[in-house]
Symmetry: D2
Subunit: 151 residues, 4 copies
């Protein structure tokens, strides 16, 4: 397993979310894993946890870049927890560590990550999230993951 050769897709969204968004995030996570990519996220609950759970159930690998000092704070579906101690300032690092980003729902933390992703010249795909210039809206988890993995 050559981990460095695998694409890394970040899934971003709120630490709290409605069931329908959590379901979407889990589907996205599962598809990322099935397509052989590594899932990156902010490592906490809500959309992040649902995406990790989906990826893990499909045998994928998950990385969580968390705001706190203790890797143990990551959600239980994170395989590689990276503690930053940076608080919300770590949002920039989520974007740095992805080849493309899929946003599911989300509020202003998610918006900061969308913005950073575009600053860093990478693609953002949106599912029921901020409708702003630069976000490629997708209609389904399948479409989102396909767009994220396109070159």
């Amino acid at each position: 397993m050559d981990l460095r050769a695998r694409k890394r897709i970040a899934v971003i969204g709120g630490a709290r979310a409605e069931k329908k968004h959590l379901k979407r995030a889990a589907d996205v996570g599962r598809l990322i894993a099935e397509r052989g990519a590594i899932l990156v996220c902010g490592g906490l609950g809500g959309v992040m946890e649902a995406a990790c759970r989906g990826a893990r159930e499909a045998g994928g690998l998950t990385i969580g870049i968390i705001p706190g000092d203790d890797p143990g704070e990551a959600n239980p579906y994170v395989d590689i927890a990276i503690a930053t101690g940076l608080g919300f300032t770590r949002n920039s690092l989520v974007a740095l560590n992805a080849d493309a980003v899929i946003a599911v729902d989300g509020e202003y933390g998610t918006l900061s990550e969308i913005a950073y992703t575009i600053v860093y010249g990478k693609k953002v795909i949106g599912l029921d999230t901020w409708d702003i210039k630069g976000v490629h809206a997708a209609q389904s988890a399948e479409e989102a993951v396909s767009l994220a993995l396109e070159d």
Copy 2:
């Protein structure tokens, strides 16, 4: 001069901008100074530099929180240059160090700062910038600075 008692208003916007936006930013900077507040910014060129210049011409104090390692990289109208070495990740620190934020024009770096400001529970006033929920649109520099200094 009790600096700690003075409000701090951040002016955010692109490192490159059209003349009309630079003029606006300079007006905003001047008014911040005239109203006794400290101007905070990202310390580089464009809107940041214009705002600092406006504040300095009105006798104000300016703080620039820059991405690089060397305080000397700040624009010449910054009084207190804070080097972070964090790159764009420093955008979060601009928001942390303001009581309110005025966005003038700007692209995705500005958007990340708008998002952080709202994450941190502070007010964002916009002048020809991102038209998104949570940004209070102002029609003039005067209105923007008044809104920023309201409690």
Copy 3:
């Protein structure tokens, strides 16, 4: 007052310290101010606060780069409080924002700042602090500040 032309000297040391070290730190702060330099520190208590108090009593300007999110957490003798939200990771920023550093007493946080200062190619002067290669030991506050302000 051209703030950018003034040298910036950081004083580093523990958030708790014995009286004799606090006295030393206050003397160092006072001398930095009397010699026209700006005092930079980590913005908290102990040696940092004593140094700021000394500088302020001599009419100097003080900058505190703090670990937390709220500039209000800086000690009361800090004029310009910069919130980083970075926790101890902010120690690197203290070193980045000084032309030279004076360490007074201190434990491992201080040691990290000494190390960063040398990594960044700047001079460290020590007063009863870590006795390691690269730290110029001084015998008095006067000597420390003179060494720090030498070219």
Copy 4:
């Protein structure tokens, strides 16, 4: 493979080092992997690369937390490259992400990591490195890894 249950040991040291130190670092990396732990490092060359190479040759997993913006800058023996964009400020994150740290040789960057490790309440084992209070000197790679993995 439950990655979260595995201990994480950081190996720190210079990006350039003499052959004997590189050999030591490779031995340390190999033993970390053989003992079932994950190797964490700063992701660049020298001691970091040698340790990763040793771990990889023994079938271990390696994490590199790098100063730059691009995960691709990590040395080729890093499995999980985490880009921080923080420059040397990332040294704190290396310490946050280890249960214990082994220092091999090294200069001031290494010293900052030793200091952070102790600030964060974790054990530092030294092999031909800084001889300061708080560093447990080991005589061999075997002893170092055993000390690091003790409770």
